[in-house]
């Protein structure tokens, strides 16, 4: 059963480019949607399971873009290497900020705020650090199709990289969810003191979750930089932080299927609204998007995860009958 739904999801992912007629623009949009969805799925580790409302996604995403871009531009290093290096760099930053935070028991709103502050601090650091980034956009050399360097003129290249990243992120997260680590993280979310009394090293597991998530967020940033062909400190974008957290919450904290499904649907709706309404009244699509979010959060505080889970459970059953 499970194999079939995985196969179905894989075929659907593989088929999308043909559904949009291989149109570069639509491919660009769906790639973006999958890229942001990947961050949402990874965020589950720290937010959904670990219960830390992290708003640092923009920092790690930006770090991925800047480090990968820097290596590609300045040293001609392949983007693939760049993704790994930037992921490691992001995990390192996550450690530096997470270790003292968790050790000193930063929680709830204070943790959320400190992670958001990280986005802005890093943005300004790289704005001042002109050897690496600075205020001027840096352009990654153009290549018609260079898979080794990880740069291509066609978006389909980036689409499949992103789809593979999303699929593997989903698998990693679902595997962690079923493992001891996942169980420990959820127990931390549910009650930190009780978890600790059962021998759960709360700091260590929070830190692990944060580092894995930041690694993946950085990879999305690296792919993004290569796809748009430049990097700049504005890619440390606090909006990505907020978008990630809201989509994950609306999708249902700690639910496996809810967040990616909700994220894909809502981001698609947002892009659709942007294309159709964006030119009529600028920004209207974002208001509608905002209203959708608030309404869901107000009336379904647990998000749509439970709903989606029960649908997912019902669906195969009805087929069997």
């Amino acid at each position: 059963m499970k194999t079939y739904s995985a196969l179905g999801a894989a075929i659907a992912l593989a088929a999308v480019p043909f559904l949009v007629g291989l149109n570069e623009y639509y491919l660009f949009l769906v790639t973006l949607i999958l890229l942001y969805t990947t961050i949402v799925v990874a965020w589950q580790l720290i937010g959904g399971y670990g219960g830390q409302l992290d708003l640092g996604a923009g920092a790690y995403h930006g770090l991925g873009a800047v480090v990968t871009g820097f290596l590609m531009v300045n040293y001609g290093v392949s983007g693939w290497v760049g993704l790994l290096v930037s992921g490691a760099a992001a995990a390192g930053v996550a450690f530096l900020i997470g270790y003292p935070s968790f050790r000193l028991g930063l929680k709830e709103v204070w943790y959320a705020l400190s992670s958001l502050a990280l986005v802005l601090i890093l943005q300004k650091i790289f704005l001042l650090w002109t050897d690496v980034a600075g205020p001027l956009e840096r352009y990654i050399p153009y290549a018609e199709f260079d898979p080794v360097f990880m740069r291509a003129g066609t978006k389909i290249f980036y689409y499949y990289i992103t789809a593979a990243l999303l699929a593997s992120t989903f698998l990693i997260v679902s595997r962690i969810r079923r493992s001891k680590t996942g169980l420990y993280l959820i127990s931390i979310r549910e009650n930190e003191e009780a978890a600790e009394m059962l021998g759960v090293d709360v700091r260590r597991y929070k830190l692990q979750a944060l580092m894995i998530y930041s690694f993946i967020a950085a990879v999305t940033g690296g792919i993004y930089a290569s796809m748009v062909g430049f990097y700049h400190p504005t890619l440390f974008d606090s909006w990505i932080s907020i978008q990630t957290a809201t989509l994950a919450i609306v999708g249902g904290l700690g639910h496996l299927l809810g967040p990616p499904i909700v994220s894909i649907i809502l981001l698609t709706v947002q892009e659709y609204l942007r294309i159709t309404l964006g030119a009529v009244i600028i920004g209207l699509h974002q208001v509608i998007f905002g209203i959708i979010l608030v309404v869901i959060i107000m009336f379904k505080p647990d998000g749509l995860g439970p709903l989606i889970d029960s649908l997912a459970r019902r669906f195969p059953a009805s087929v069997r009958r």
């Binding site: 992912l13 291989l22 639509y26 660009f28 956009e137 066609t154 389909i156 499949y160 030119a279």
Partner: protein, 414 residues
Amino acid sequence: MVVAVVVIAAVVGISVFTRVLPLSQPTPQVSEIRVGLVEPLSGTYAVFGNEARMAAELVIEEINSKGGIASLGGAKLKLFVEDSKSTADGARLAAEKLVNVDKVHVIIGAFISSHTLTMLDVTEPKKVVVMADALVDYLTARGFKYIVRLPPKASVHGATAVDFAVGVFQQNGMKIQRPVIVHFDGLFGEVTADGVYTRLRDLGIRPVDRIKYPTDITDMAPIIERIRQANPDVVFVVPYYADSVLFAKAVASLGLKVPLIVGAGGTGLADPDSIKASGEAAEYMINTYSYDPFLPTNYNKQLVQAFQNRYGKLPTEAAGIVFYTLWTLKEALEVSGKNYPDDPLSGDNLMKALMSLDITSGPAAETYPSGHIKLAPNGDNLYAQAVALQVQGGKPVLVYPFDKAQAKPVFPRP
């Protein structure tokens, strides 16, 4: 595991598929020319983008109402506007849409130089001609094939600001001793300020300070304080819009006394929007522009009048560039229709047509400061010229070039 296999299979399959299939496009029957316009309609630079959009709509209406492109059987121009959201990736996304969905033949944009560069990544491979309304020098110096730029480039603006200041000082029997350069830290700010610096250096003058500030600055007081510490006799400033308003207001409210303040780059200080937003603080502010709304030609007077009637404001930088860019496009289309009737709208033919132009009369020439448009091989206008406007009595007036000036510049600032 399964997912990975399928995805990898798909990657291989599709990359082969796209490689093998020739993406042939049938030659279109020319009934319309699709013109894309990428501008910052929202966000930090929205003031410019919206002015450019107004100008584009006005001029395209006029071209169409006068019979469209004669050599293409009266084909009409159709405008496709996209918002860059004032970000580099937004401009890129906009270009993707125009090129891949709307299939435009030419793009005008993206006002902000760095945004224009990200657009070229999309347009160059698809051979879509970009007519840039962005000023940074190296847009046309990086070997891109399908770009032209009519307005004077950033370094020309910088040099013009210096020439003007030197002239004003000379008229009053003085010499510049202690100039200060102030600019935002983006691409355009850097390059324009470099233009100022280079021209000053050529004249043997050393600036006493060069102050950078972030594009999203919200409080100018610290900058003004640093200027005051430098005790300058002239301040060269390169702002965009919002920061120019903050700058003007901070100069007034903190009582900064400098004999001359000259903006370079036409994106603030002395245009109608800045004047409206800064109020009295805008008085005596000077800036260089790529367009002279007071150019005393018949067509220009008529166009400025039409613009003012419809939108209630004077067209300056953003609108002016679009004026002559669109009229130049029209001339090029006429040539292309005549010379390459088989495929008049292909990027290559359109570029050839643009390169063959030498315009000294007609609407394009009548709206261009020097009255002369002829492109160099890199796509820049050989006869590029910038002008300077000063706010006097709440209205911009032309003060440079001195021979065409409507009024003498007010100097020193009271």
